[in-house]
Protein backbone atom coordinates (compact mmCIF):
# COMPACT_ATOMS: atom_id res chain seq x y z
CA UNK A 1 0.00 0.00 0.00
CA UNK A 2 1.20 3.49 -0.79
CA UNK A 3 1.02 6.07 1.98
CA UNK A 4 0.71 9.72 1.11
CA UNK A 5 1.04 12.28 3.90
CA UNK A 6 1.13 15.50 1.93
CA UNK A 7 -2.56 16.29 2.43
CA UNK A 8 -1.93 17.08 6.09
CA UNK A 9 -0.44 20.40 4.97
CA UNK A 10 -3.38 21.19 2.69
CA UNK A 11 -5.97 23.51 4.09
CA UNK A 12 -9.41 22.18 4.88
CA UNK A 13 -11.22 24.65 2.69
CA UNK A 14 -11.43 27.72 4.88
CA UNK A 15 -8.19 29.12 3.57
CA UNK A 16 -6.27 29.09 6.85
CA UNK A 17 -6.56 25.79 8.76
CA UNK A 18 -4.52 22.81 7.62
CA UNK A 19 -5.48 19.21 8.36
CA UNK A 20 -2.43 19.07 10.60
CA UNK A 21 -3.57 21.96 12.76
CA UNK A 22 -7.08 20.48 12.82
CA UNK A 23 -5.57 17.22 14.00
CA UNK A 24 -3.79 18.97 16.85
CA UNK A 25 -6.82 20.98 17.85
CA UNK A 26 -8.79 17.71 17.89
CA UNK A 27 -6.11 16.24 20.14
CA UNK A 28 -6.57 19.27 22.37
CA UNK A 29 -10.31 18.59 22.59
CA UNK A 30 -9.68 14.96 23.46
CA UNK A 31 -7.32 16.02 26.23
CA UNK A 32 -9.76 18.66 27.44
CA UNK A 33 -12.76 16.32 27.54
CA UNK A 34 -10.79 13.50 29.18
CA UNK A 35 -8.95 15.82 31.56
CA UNK A 36 -12.03 17.65 32.85
CA UNK A 37 -14.01 14.41 33.09
CA UNK A 38 -11.11 12.83 34.99
CA UNK A 39 -11.08 15.59 37.59
CA UNK A 40 -14.84 15.20 38.04
CA UNK A 41 -14.58 11.40 38.18
CA UNK A 42 -11.77 11.53 40.72
CA UNK A 43 -13.63 13.94 43.01
CA UNK A 44 -17.01 12.23 42.82
CA UNK A 45 -15.56 8.74 42.76
CA UNK A 46 -13.47 9.38 45.88
CA UNK A 47 -16.46 10.73 47.76
CA UNK A 48 -18.81 7.96 46.65
CA UNK A 49 -16.19 5.27 47.19
CA UNK A 50 -15.52 6.60 50.69
CA UNK A 51 -19.23 6.75 51.52
CA UNK A 52 -19.56 3.12 50.48
CA UNK A 53 -17.30 2.14 53.38
CA UNK A 54 -19.27 4.10 55.98
CA UNK A 55 -20.79 2.21 58.88
CA UNK A 56 -24.08 4.08 58.34
CA UNK A 57 -26.12 1.74 56.16
CA UNK A 58 -28.34 4.15 54.27
CA UNK A 59 -25.38 6.28 53.20
CA UNK A 60 -23.55 3.20 51.95
CA UNK A 61 -26.68 2.02 50.12
CA UNK A 62 -27.11 5.32 48.36
CA UNK A 63 -23.48 5.28 47.27
CA UNK A 64 -23.86 1.72 46.01
CA UNK A 65 -26.91 2.73 44.00
CA UNK A 66 -24.83 5.48 42.38
CA UNK A 67 -22.24 2.97 41.29
CA UNK A 68 -24.79 0.49 39.93
CA UNK A 69 -26.63 3.21 38.04
CA UNK A 70 -23.62 4.57 36.19
CA UNK A 71 -22.00 1.20 35.66
CA UNK A 72 -24.93 -0.58 34.04
CA UNK A 73 -25.81 1.82 31.24
CA UNK A 74 -23.56 1.94 28.16
CA UNK A 75 -21.41 5.06 28.04
CA UNK A 76 -22.79 6.10 24.66
CA UNK A 77 -26.35 5.89 25.97
CA UNK A 78 -25.34 7.97 29.00
CA UNK A 79 -23.82 10.57 26.68
CA UNK A 80 -27.10 10.69 24.76
CA UNK A 81 -28.99 11.07 28.02
CA UNK A 82 -26.89 14.10 28.91
CA UNK A 83 -27.06 15.56 25.44
CA UNK A 84 -30.66 14.89 24.37
CA UNK A 85 -32.69 13.99 27.43
CA UNK A 86 -31.51 16.05 30.39
CA UNK A 87 -31.63 19.48 28.70
CA UNK A 88 -35.17 18.83 27.52
CA UNK A 89 -36.29 17.67 30.97
CA UNK A 90 -34.53 20.53 32.76
CA UNK A 91 -34.99 23.62 30.56
CA UNK A 92 -32.39 25.80 32.32
CA UNK A 93 -29.74 23.38 31.07
CA UNK A 94 -30.66 24.02 27.45
CA UNK A 95 -27.91 26.56 26.94
CA UNK A 96 -25.15 24.51 28.50
CA UNK A 97 -22.48 23.78 25.86
CA UNK A 98 -22.27 20.19 24.72
CA UNK A 99 -18.66 20.07 25.90
CA UNK A 100 -19.86 20.44 29.49
CA UNK A 101 -22.58 17.84 29.03
CA UNK A 102 -20.09 15.33 27.64
CA UNK A 103 -17.70 16.03 30.52
CA UNK A 104 -20.51 15.26 32.94
CA UNK A 105 -21.50 12.12 31.05
CA UNK A 106 -17.98 10.75 30.87
CA UNK A 107 -17.11 11.99 34.36
CA UNK A 108 -20.05 10.39 36.12
CA UNK A 109 -19.63 7.15 34.17
CA UNK A 110 -15.97 7.01 35.24
CA UNK A 111 -16.78 8.08 38.80
CA UNK A 112 -18.52 4.76 39.37
CA UNK A 113 -15.35 2.91 38.40
CA UNK A 114 -13.17 5.17 40.52
CA UNK A 115 -15.57 4.69 43.44
CA UNK A 116 -15.26 0.93 43.08
CA UNK A 117 -11.45 1.16 43.26
CA UNK A 118 -11.45 3.58 46.19
CA UNK A 119 -13.87 1.37 48.15
CA UNK A 120 -11.70 -1.67 47.50
CA UNK A 121 -8.63 0.31 48.55
CA UNK A 122 -10.14 1.42 51.84
CA UNK A 123 -11.49 -2.04 52.61
CA UNK A 124 -8.12 -3.63 51.91
CA UNK A 125 -6.65 -1.73 54.86
CA UNK A 126 -6.51 -3.68 58.13
CA UNK A 127 -9.67 -3.09 60.14
CA UNK A 128 -7.55 -2.05 63.12
CA UNK A 129 -6.42 1.13 61.34
CA UNK A 130 -9.88 2.63 61.65
CA UNK A 131 -10.02 1.59 65.30
CA UNK A 132 -6.57 3.00 65.97
CA UNK A 133 -7.56 6.37 64.57
CA UNK A 134 -10.78 6.44 66.54
CA UNK A 135 -9.10 5.23 69.74
CA UNK A 136 -6.85 8.31 69.59
CA UNK A 137 -9.94 10.49 69.62
CA UNK A 138 -10.00 11.36 65.91
CA UNK A 139 -13.51 11.91 64.57
CA UNK A 140 -14.79 9.74 61.73
CA UNK A 141 -13.97 12.48 59.23
CA UNK A 142 -10.46 12.91 60.66
CA UNK A 143 -9.88 9.17 60.66
CA UNK A 144 -10.66 9.07 56.95
CA UNK A 145 -8.71 12.20 56.18
CA UNK A 146 -5.50 11.41 58.07
CA UNK A 147 -5.45 7.63 58.45
CA UNK A 148 -7.50 5.69 55.90
CA UNK A 149 -7.52 7.77 52.71
CA UNK A 150 -3.77 8.53 52.51
CA UNK A 151 -3.01 4.80 52.47
CA UNK A 152 -6.01 3.85 50.36
CA UNK A 153 -5.02 6.27 47.62
CA UNK A 154 -1.49 4.94 47.52
CA UNK A 155 -2.89 1.45 47.12
CA UNK A 156 -5.29 2.35 44.31
CA UNK A 157 -2.81 4.25 42.14
CA UNK A 158 -2.21 1.28 39.80
CA UNK A 159 -5.91 0.59 39.12
CA UNK A 160 -6.53 4.33 38.84
CA UNK A 161 -3.78 4.47 36.24
CA UNK A 162 -5.68 2.09 34.03
CA UNK A 163 -8.88 4.05 34.63
CA UNK A 164 -7.08 7.23 33.57
CA UNK A 165 -5.95 5.48 30.41
CA UNK A 166 -9.49 4.23 29.87
CA UNK A 167 -10.94 7.70 30.13
CA UNK A 168 -8.74 8.83 27.22
CA UNK A 169 -10.04 5.91 25.17
CA UNK A 170 -13.63 6.45 26.33
CA UNK A 171 -13.54 10.15 25.48
CA UNK A 172 -13.78 8.98 21.87
CA UNK A 173 -17.56 8.55 22.27
CA UNK A 174 -17.80 12.35 22.33
CA UNK A 175 -17.77 12.12 18.52
CA UNK A 176 -21.42 11.08 18.75
CA UNK A 177 -22.44 14.50 20.02
CA UNK A 178 -20.26 16.45 17.62
CA UNK A 179 -17.38 17.36 19.91
CA UNK A 180 -14.55 17.96 17.49
CA UNK A 181 -12.14 15.54 19.13
CA UNK A 182 -9.78 12.98 17.60
CA UNK A 183 -12.35 10.36 16.62
CA UNK A 184 -14.66 12.87 14.98
CA UNK A 185 -11.62 14.30 13.21
CA UNK A 186 -10.75 10.80 12.01
CA UNK A 187 -14.23 10.26 10.60
CA UNK A 188 -14.53 13.65 8.94
CA UNK A 189 -11.00 13.90 7.58
CA UNK A 190 -11.27 10.36 6.25
CA UNK A 191 -14.38 11.33 4.36
CA UNK A 192 -13.00 14.57 2.99
CA UNK A 193 -9.56 13.37 1.95
CA UNK A 194 -10.17 9.68 1.26
CA UNK A 195 -6.79 9.08 2.91
CA UNK A 196 -8.34 7.00 5.68
CA UNK A 197 -5.29 4.92 6.50
CA UNK A 198 -3.04 7.94 7.00
CA UNK A 199 -5.68 9.79 9.02
CA UNK A 200 -6.41 6.78 11.23
CA UNK A 201 -2.69 6.11 11.70
CA UNK A 202 -2.12 9.67 12.86
CA UNK A 203 -5.08 9.60 15.24
CA UNK A 204 -4.25 6.17 16.62
CA UNK A 205 -0.67 7.25 17.24
CA UNK A 206 -1.83 10.28 19.20
CA UNK A 207 -4.13 8.09 21.32
CA UNK A 208 -1.27 5.73 22.08
CA UNK A 209 1.15 8.55 22.88
CA UNK A 210 -1.39 10.05 25.27
CA UNK A 211 -2.00 6.76 27.04
CA UNK A 212 1.74 6.12 27.39
CA UNK A 213 2.31 9.59 28.81
CA UNK A 214 -0.38 9.07 31.42
CA UNK A 215 1.12 5.74 32.32
CA UNK A 216 4.57 7.31 32.88
CA UNK A 217 3.05 10.22 34.80
CA UNK A 218 1.17 7.95 37.18
CA UNK A 219 4.27 5.80 37.68
CA UNK A 220 6.11 8.96 38.66
CA UNK A 221 3.39 9.91 41.15
CA UNK A 222 3.41 6.39 42.55
CA UNK A 223 7.15 6.63 43.11
CA UNK A 224 6.90 10.06 44.72
CA UNK A 225 4.33 9.01 47.33
CA UNK A 226 5.82 5.61 48.09
CA UNK A 227 5.96 4.86 51.82
CA UNK A 228 9.37 3.69 53.07
CA UNK A 229 9.24 0.20 54.52
CA UNK A 230 5.86 -0.50 52.96
CA UNK A 231 5.38 -3.03 50.13
CA UNK A 232 7.91 -2.12 47.50
CA UNK A 233 9.41 0.68 49.55
CA UNK A 234 13.13 1.07 50.20
CA UNK A 235 13.78 -0.60 53.49
Amino acid sequence: MHLEWGFFLRDIGDGETTYLSWLFSAWGWTLAVAGCAWVLALLLGSVVGTLRTMQVTWVARLANAWVELFRNIPLLVQIFLWYHVIPSLIPPLRDVPSFVLVVFGLGLFTSSRVAEQVRAGIQSLPHGQRHAGMALGLTTAQTYRYVLLPMAFRIVIPPLTSEAMNIIKNSSVAFAVSISELTLFAMQAQEETSRGVEVYLAVTTLYIITAMTINRLMALIEKRVRVPGYVGGDR
Binding site: L81, L89, K169, A176, Q190
Partner: protein
Protein backbone atom coordinates in the same frame (compact mmCIF):
# COMPACT_ATOMS: atom_id res chain seq x y z
CA UNK B 1 -40.49 18.86 32.20
CA UNK B 2 -41.01 15.29 33.34
CA UNK B 3 -44.76 15.76 33.03
CA UNK B 4 -44.34 16.26 29.29
CA UNK B 5 -42.99 12.80 28.74
CA UNK B 6 -45.26 10.78 26.50
CA UNK B 7 -44.60 7.08 26.59
CA UNK B 8 -47.81 6.11 24.81
CA UNK B 9 -45.89 5.40 21.62
CA UNK B 10 -44.32 2.43 23.34
CA UNK B 11 -46.39 -0.51 22.19
CA UNK B 12 -46.01 -3.90 20.61
CA UNK B 13 -45.84 -2.47 17.14
CA UNK B 14 -42.84 -0.38 18.08
CA UNK B 15 -41.10 -3.36 19.58
CA UNK B 16 -41.64 -5.58 16.57
CA UNK B 17 -40.98 -2.89 13.96
CA UNK B 18 -37.94 -1.19 15.37
CA UNK B 19 -36.50 -2.82 18.44
CA UNK B 20 -36.63 -6.58 17.81
CA UNK B 21 -34.21 -6.40 14.89
CA UNK B 22 -31.74 -4.24 16.79
CA UNK B 23 -31.99 -6.30 19.96
CA UNK B 24 -31.43 -9.48 17.97
CA UNK B 25 -28.30 -8.03 16.41
CA UNK B 26 -26.91 -6.78 19.74
CA UNK B 27 -27.36 -10.22 21.26
CA UNK B 28 -25.94 -11.95 18.20
CA UNK B 29 -22.92 -9.66 18.20
CA UNK B 30 -22.37 -10.20 21.93
CA UNK B 31 -22.61 -13.98 21.78
CA UNK B 32 -20.45 -14.43 18.68
CA UNK B 33 -17.80 -12.00 19.94
CA UNK B 34 -17.83 -13.74 23.32
CA UNK B 35 -17.45 -17.26 21.91
CA UNK B 36 -14.92 -16.24 19.27
CA UNK B 37 -13.13 -13.89 21.65
CA UNK B 38 -12.73 -16.52 24.35
CA UNK B 39 -11.42 -19.14 21.91
CA UNK B 40 -9.00 -16.77 20.18
CA UNK B 41 -8.16 -15.09 23.48
CA UNK B 42 -7.28 -18.42 25.09
CA UNK B 43 -5.04 -19.20 22.14
CA UNK B 44 -3.34 -15.83 22.58
CA UNK B 45 -2.90 -16.47 26.29
CA UNK B 46 -1.35 -19.88 25.62
CA UNK B 47 1.03 -18.29 23.12
CA UNK B 48 2.09 -15.67 25.65
CA UNK B 49 2.70 -18.29 28.30
CA UNK B 50 4.39 -20.75 25.95
CA UNK B 51 7.88 -19.48 26.73
CA UNK B 52 8.67 -19.36 23.01
CA UNK B 53 9.48 -15.77 21.96
CA UNK B 54 8.31 -16.25 18.36
CA UNK B 55 4.84 -17.06 19.74
CA UNK B 56 4.80 -14.88 22.83
CA UNK B 57 6.02 -11.67 21.23
CA UNK B 58 3.45 -11.37 18.42
CA UNK B 59 0.67 -12.36 20.80
CA UNK B 60 1.74 -9.76 23.37
CA UNK B 61 2.02 -7.08 20.69
CA UNK B 62 -1.43 -7.90 19.39
CA UNK B 63 -3.02 -7.79 22.84
CA UNK B 64 -1.28 -4.60 23.94
CA UNK B 65 -2.03 -2.78 20.71
CA UNK B 66 -5.72 -3.66 20.82
CA UNK B 67 -5.94 -2.64 24.46
CA UNK B 68 -4.38 0.76 23.92
CA UNK B 69 -6.69 1.93 21.10
CA UNK B 70 -10.26 3.16 21.68
CA UNK B 71 -12.83 0.60 20.54
CA UNK B 72 -14.49 3.19 18.30
CA UNK B 73 -11.21 3.64 16.43
CA UNK B 74 -10.82 -0.12 16.07
CA UNK B 75 -14.33 -0.31 14.65
CA UNK B 76 -13.48 2.43 12.17
CA UNK B 77 -10.15 0.78 11.27
CA UNK B 78 -11.74 -2.53 10.39
CA UNK B 79 -14.58 -0.87 8.52
CA UNK B 80 -11.95 0.89 6.44
CA UNK B 81 -9.47 -1.95 6.04
CA UNK B 82 -11.65 -5.00 5.38
CA UNK B 83 -12.93 -3.67 2.05
CA UNK B 84 -9.37 -2.70 1.07
CA UNK B 85 -8.19 -6.22 1.86
CA UNK B 86 -10.96 -8.31 0.33
CA UNK B 87 -11.64 -5.96 -2.53
CA UNK B 88 -15.34 -5.39 -1.96
CA UNK B 89 -17.40 -3.61 0.64
CA UNK B 90 -18.91 -5.45 3.53
CA UNK B 91 -21.99 -4.62 5.58
CA UNK B 92 -21.56 -2.70 8.81
CA UNK B 93 -23.06 -5.61 10.77
CA UNK B 94 -20.63 -8.24 9.50
CA UNK B 95 -17.74 -5.84 9.90
CA UNK B 96 -18.81 -5.23 13.49
CA UNK B 97 -18.92 -8.95 14.24
CA UNK B 98 -15.38 -9.47 12.95
CA UNK B 99 -14.11 -6.37 14.77
CA UNK B 100 -15.63 -7.25 18.11
CA UNK B 101 -14.40 -10.83 17.99
CA UNK B 102 -10.83 -9.76 17.32
CA UNK B 103 -10.98 -6.82 19.75
CA UNK B 104 -12.54 -8.70 22.65
CA UNK B 105 -10.05 -11.54 22.19
CA UNK B 106 -7.39 -9.17 23.55
CA UNK B 107 -9.37 -8.58 26.74
CA UNK B 108 -10.45 -12.20 27.19
CA UNK B 109 -6.84 -13.28 26.68
CA UNK B 110 -5.69 -11.18 29.65
CA UNK B 111 -8.37 -12.83 31.80
CA UNK B 112 -7.45 -16.33 30.65
CA UNK B 113 -3.77 -15.60 31.20
CA UNK B 114 -4.47 -14.64 34.80
CA UNK B 115 -6.69 -17.71 35.11
CA UNK B 116 -4.02 -20.07 33.82
CA UNK B 117 -1.46 -18.52 36.15
CA UNK B 118 -3.86 -18.97 39.06
CA UNK B 119 -3.76 -22.75 38.65
CA UNK B 120 -1.11 -24.14 40.95
CA UNK B 121 2.16 -25.15 39.31
CA UNK B 122 1.85 -28.54 41.00
CA UNK B 123 -1.15 -29.35 38.81
CA UNK B 124 1.03 -29.18 35.70
CA UNK B 125 3.67 -31.43 37.28
CA UNK B 126 0.93 -33.84 38.34
CA UNK B 127 -0.25 -33.96 34.73
CA UNK B 128 3.25 -34.62 33.40
CA UNK B 129 3.82 -37.21 36.10
CA UNK B 130 0.81 -39.12 34.80
CA UNK B 131 2.43 -39.18 31.36
CA UNK B 132 0.23 -36.52 29.75
CA UNK B 133 1.71 -34.33 27.02
CA UNK B 134 1.86 -30.52 27.26
CA UNK B 135 -1.27 -30.22 25.12
CA UNK B 136 -3.18 -32.79 27.15
CA UNK B 137 -2.14 -31.24 30.44
CA UNK B 138 -3.37 -27.87 29.28
CA UNK B 139 -6.62 -29.13 27.77
CA UNK B 140 -7.60 -31.65 30.43
CA UNK B 141 -6.22 -30.16 33.63
CA UNK B 142 -5.16 -26.52 33.51
CA UNK B 143 -7.71 -24.89 31.19
CA UNK B 144 -10.83 -26.35 32.85
CA UNK B 145 -9.65 -25.06 36.23
CA UNK B 146 -8.61 -21.69 34.80
CA UNK B 147 -11.96 -21.41 33.11
CA UNK B 148 -13.86 -22.23 36.28
CA UNK B 149 -11.80 -19.80 38.39
CA UNK B 150 -12.29 -17.02 35.88
CA UNK B 151 -15.93 -17.66 35.00
CA UNK B 152 -17.28 -14.61 36.89
CA UNK B 153 -14.63 -12.33 35.39
CA UNK B 154 -15.31 -13.68 31.89
CA UNK B 155 -19.02 -13.04 32.34
CA UNK B 156 -18.40 -9.53 33.70
CA UNK B 157 -16.30 -8.84 30.61
CA UNK B 158 -19.22 -10.11 28.51
CA UNK B 159 -21.57 -7.60 30.17
CA UNK B 160 -19.08 -4.86 29.30
CA UNK B 161 -18.98 -6.28 25.76
CA UNK B 162 -22.77 -6.08 25.57
CA UNK B 163 -22.64 -2.43 26.62
CA UNK B 164 -19.88 -1.75 24.09
CA UNK B 165 -21.92 -3.15 21.22
CA UNK B 166 -23.75 0.20 21.26
CA UNK B 167 -20.59 1.72 19.75
CA UNK B 168 -21.39 0.20 16.35
CA UNK B 169 -23.26 3.49 16.12
CA UNK B 170 -20.01 4.80 14.64
CA UNK B 171 -20.48 2.79 11.44
CA UNK B 172 -24.27 2.89 11.42
CA UNK B 173 -24.96 -0.78 12.14
CA UNK B 174 -28.52 -1.45 13.30
CA UNK B 175 -28.33 -2.53 16.94
CA UNK B 176 -30.60 -2.07 19.95
CA UNK B 177 -29.61 1.56 20.49
CA UNK B 178 -30.09 2.30 16.79
CA UNK B 179 -33.53 0.70 17.05
CA UNK B 180 -34.50 3.12 19.80
CA UNK B 181 -33.04 6.04 17.90
CA UNK B 182 -34.90 5.23 14.69
CA UNK B 183 -38.12 4.69 16.63
CA UNK B 184 -37.59 8.03 18.40
CA UNK B 185 -37.16 9.79 15.07
CA UNK B 186 -40.18 8.05 13.56
CA UNK B 187 -42.56 8.98 16.34
CA UNK B 188 -40.86 12.31 16.90
CA UNK B 189 -40.22 11.30 20.52
CA UNK B 190 -36.39 11.16 20.74
CA UNK B 191 -36.23 12.07 24.45
CA UNK B 192 -38.52 9.24 25.49
CA UNK B 193 -36.73 6.85 23.15
CA UNK B 194 -33.30 7.53 24.67
CA UNK B 195 -34.74 7.32 28.16
CA UNK B 196 -36.30 3.95 27.40
CA UNK B 197 -33.05 2.76 25.85
CA UNK B 198 -31.23 3.62 29.08
CA UNK B 199 -33.83 1.77 31.16
CA UNK B 200 -33.69 -1.33 28.96
CA UNK B 201 -29.88 -1.47 28.98
CA UNK B 202 -29.85 -0.89 32.73
CA UNK B 203 -32.33 -3.66 33.47
CA UNK B 204 -30.43 -6.14 31.31
CA UNK B 205 -26.97 -5.28 32.61
CA UNK B 206 -28.03 -4.95 36.24
CA UNK B 207 -29.79 -8.33 36.26
CA UNK B 208 -26.86 -10.01 34.55
CA UNK B 209 -24.36 -8.54 36.99
CA UNK B 210 -26.52 -9.62 39.94
CA UNK B 211 -26.44 -13.16 38.56
CA UNK B 212 -22.67 -12.96 38.20
CA UNK B 213 -22.36 -11.74 41.80
CA UNK B 214 -24.39 -14.73 43.03
CA UNK B 215 -22.29 -17.06 40.93
CA UNK B 216 -19.15 -15.55 42.41
CA UNK B 217 -20.20 -16.35 45.98
CA UNK B 218 -21.23 -19.86 44.89
CA UNK B 219 -17.86 -20.49 43.27
CA UNK B 220 -16.07 -19.08 46.31
CA UNK B 221 -17.91 -21.62 48.46
CA UNK B 222 -17.15 -24.57 46.18
CA UNK B 223 -13.46 -23.75 46.23
Amino acid sequence: MIGNLDLSFFNWELVSNFLAKGFYFSIQLTLIAMAGGIVFGTALALCRLSGRPWLALPAATYVNTMRSIPLVMVILWFFLLIPLLIGRSMGAELSAIITFTLFEAAYYSEIMRAGIQSVARGQVYAGYALGLTYGQTMRLIVLPQAFRNMLPVLLTQTIILFQDTSLVYAIGAYDLLKGFEVAGKNFNRPVEAYLLAAVVYFVICFSLSSVVKKLQTRIAIIR
